[in-house]
């Protein structure tokens, strides 16, 4: 369960950035009074154009950033007051997260299991399961720097799931991946749903959203344009398909 209540996030702008962007104000409101709820066993999709604030919201859920105002609760824990407990419950993966290239897959997975405090016996079992599902064989003892990007993606997934998180946060997880690698992610998201986990993912790829999404939020310039079940969204659509509807919504809310 993730509850986002009236959350806003203001970023201070440094002098250097002010010059670069040629703007006058001292701060930018990246997220403006956003509320939504992600339920267990359902897949929540956060959709929006580039720079809409998707990553900022997901980072606040994952406790990397603190909201300027409002509250976020993850699996019953407040992200500010009980941030460590929140992180214990979350698996977080983004299209841009990196891996330690000088470590081997086994070393990296063990490192994160240790950081998450996974018990040794539980660790071996989970690692075996994840390696089986993702078909990690033959390269477990290779340095990650020598792996292909598809293999690296699999390692990232193991890293994210090694502590069996209750809530999984995917930030544009398939960006930059080929269809085969992207399929691994989509399978994993489906599997998380079957295991009754709470899943939130951000994307701007309509086919993914169409395939996976149970609940939808559309965000534009820091504010929500739509928040509700996917089925309801389909019913009220004014255009023929999702892509057109998305473009229509964003265009009509230009200002």
């Amino acid at each position: 369960m993730i509850q986002v209540e009236n959350v806003s996030k203001v970023f201070k702008i440094t002098k250097k950035l002010k010059k670069e962007l040629d703007i006058q104000q001292d701060s930018i409101k990246a997220i403006d009074n956003v509320s939504f709820e992600c339920k267990p066993g359902r897949i929540f999709s956060l959709m929006g154009p580039n720079g809409a604030g998707k990553t900022t919201i997901l980072r606040m859920i994952a406790t990397i950033l603190k909201p300027t105002s409002g509250n976020i609760t993850v699996a019953g824990f407040n992200t500010i007051k009980e941030d460590q407990k929140v992180r214990q419950k979350i698996g977080f993966i983004t299209g841009s997260t990196g891996l330690y290239e000088r470590l081997t897959t086994n070393e990296l997975v063990k490192y994160f299991a240790d950081l998450y405090g996974v018990e040794k016996s539980v660790f071996e079992k989970r690692k075996g399961e994840l390696y089986d599902i993702l078909n990690i064989t033959g390269f477990a003892n290779k340095k990650i720097g020598q792996l292909s990007s598809g293999m690296k993606q699999k390692v990232s997934l193991v890293r994210t799931m090694i502590h069996d998180p209750e809530v999984v946060v995917f930030d544009e997880p398939t960006s930059g991946l080929d269809v085969i690698a992207a399929k691994n992610i989509i399978e994993l998201i489906k599997q998380c749903k079957n295991q009754h986990k709470t899943v939130i993912f951000s994307s701007h790829i309509m086919s993914e959203v169409d395939l996976l999404c149970d609940d939808l939020a559309i965000i534009h310039k820091g504010s929500l344009l739509y928040n509700g079940p996917m089925d309801d969204f389909r019913k009220q659509m004014k255009t023929k398909n999702l892509t057109e509807e998305f473009i229509y919504l964003v265009e009509t809310h230009k200002n």
Binding site: F11, K12, T14, R59, A62, T63, I64, L65, K66, Q84, K85, R87, Q88, I90, F92, T94, S96, T97, G98, L99, Y100, R102, L103, E107, Y111, F112, D114, L115, Y116, G117, K143, R159
Partner: protein, 396 residues
């Protein structure tokens, strides 16, 4: 605490697989001095020999007299004398290297010598040409002394008559003190610099690169506290600084030992003394807060920097800020006092010098240690504050 150990252990494994870190932390500090010494040793010893054996080409203008003086150079293989007329520009000849030196004798030289006056000789040479002046002065000095003896005999005087006071100078400083003041100033300079250099790449790798590559985010979302992440990383940065500082000293003493065939036995004895356990403990006790201080500074820079290049461009000028106070400790006349004991870096340079000389004042040493600890704590506190700032650890 357990998490800090997990992070420290992983970062060490990770860093030890990085060739650049291995080079700056282990290979360079360990091998630099033995290499420099062996090259320098070979070069200077052959060079000195060559200079000593080389026949000097000396021009002379005797102004038609001083035949007795000229006889000094007869039948000498090591000095070749050529007579020139007055019109020659000797300074150009010496300057251009056609002559190694020139001797100009005044036209009234013989008459002055004969009438108990002072005969004048001018010696032209270049101080850059090693040994020319010494070799010529040696010959002319002997000549001057023999003339002096002749005159004294003529006047019926003994040497003491013109030498009323004899001053005997005795340097009672121990060999250890002498070396402490010379090499002793050099040693802390070396380990301060290597302590800093050793911190650079690991700090950039552990802070800036992690942010750039997006790996920092992956540990920020684990239940580990941010402070534990910071401390785990800072311990590793401090350790690499410490290791490279210690290895530079090991390399230096090894190099001196190899080179020591040229050094007198008692100097070696002093250097061996310096490696006494109590001295080593006192030095390392100062090194630890020093490298923590460095690690704190490096954390500030590398956390702030957005890219590897930016980090490097800030760190390079920082080197000067580190080197300057270290050089201050090398300057003659600088001594460990209550004031210099609290100037960072200068204090450790001065204290090390005194430890090596065996003249350290223990209460001043305690002050140095205390002030280094305070600086270390301040830099760690700043690093903590800096690392807690969202904009410093999250990539935009």
């Amino acid at each position: 605490m357990k998490n800090i150990i997990i992070i420290t252990r992983k970062e060490i494994t990770d860093l030890l697989r990085d060739r650049r870190t291995l080079m700056t932390m282990i290979v360079i500090p360990l091998l630099m001095f033995p290499l420099i010494f062996s090259i320098m040793g070979k070069f200077t010893s052959t060079q000195i020999k060559k200079e000593q054996e080389k026949a000097l080409n000396i021009g002379i203008n005797d102004n038609g007299n001083a035949s007795q003086f000229r006889q000094l150079f007869n039948n000498r293989k090591d000095i070749k004398i050529t007579n020139y007329s007055k019109a020659v520009k000797f300074d150009t000849l010496v300057q251009s290297g056609k002559l190694d030196g020139a001797i100009l004798i005044s036209d009234n030289f013989d008459s002055n010598i004969g009438t108990m006056k002072t005969g004048q000789i001018t010696l032209l040479y270049k101080s850059a040409n090693w040994g020319v002046r010494e070799r010529l002065m040696d010959i002319m000095g002997k000549y001057k002394n023999s003339l002096m003896d002749e005159r004294l005999a003529k006047l019926n005087l003994q040497r003491p008559a013109i030498d009323p006071v004899e001053i005997k100078i005795q340097d009672i400083s121990t060999q250890r003190e002498k070396i402490g003041q010379s090499i002793g100033g050099f040693i802390p300079y070396i380990f301060i610099i290597f302590g800093f250099i050793g911190c650079i790449y690991p700090a950039i790798d552990l802070f800036t690169n992690e942010k750039e590559r997006g790996t920092l985010e992956t540990i920020l979302v684990t239940p580990v506290k941010r402070l534990e992440i910071l401390f785990g990383k800072m311990i590793v940065v401090s350790l690499t600084g410490l290791v490279s500082a210690i290895l530079s000293i090991v390399g230096l003493s090894f190099g001196l030992k190899q080179f020591s065939k040229a050094l007198p036995q008692d100097i070696m004895g002093t250097l061996v003394n310096f490696i006494e356990p109590s001295n080593v403990i006192m030095l390392v006790a100062m090194l630890i807060p020093l490298v923590v201080f460095f690690a704190g500074i490096m954390t500030l820079i590398t956390t702030y920097a957005k890219s590897y290049k930016e980090a490097q461009s800030i760190v390079s000028p920082m080197m000067i800020l580190i080197v300057l106070p270290a050089i201050m400790g090398l300057m003659p006349g600088m001594e460990l006092t209550a004031l210099t004991a609290i100037i960072p870096i200068t204090n450790i340079a001065l204290a090390s010098k005194e430890i090596i000389s065996g003249t350290i004042n223990y209460s001043l040493y305690a002050m140095v240690l205390a002030s280094l600890l305070i600086y270390a704590v301040i830099s760690v506190a700043l690093a903590v504050k800096w690392f807690s700032k969202e904009s410093n650890i999250v990539k935009a």
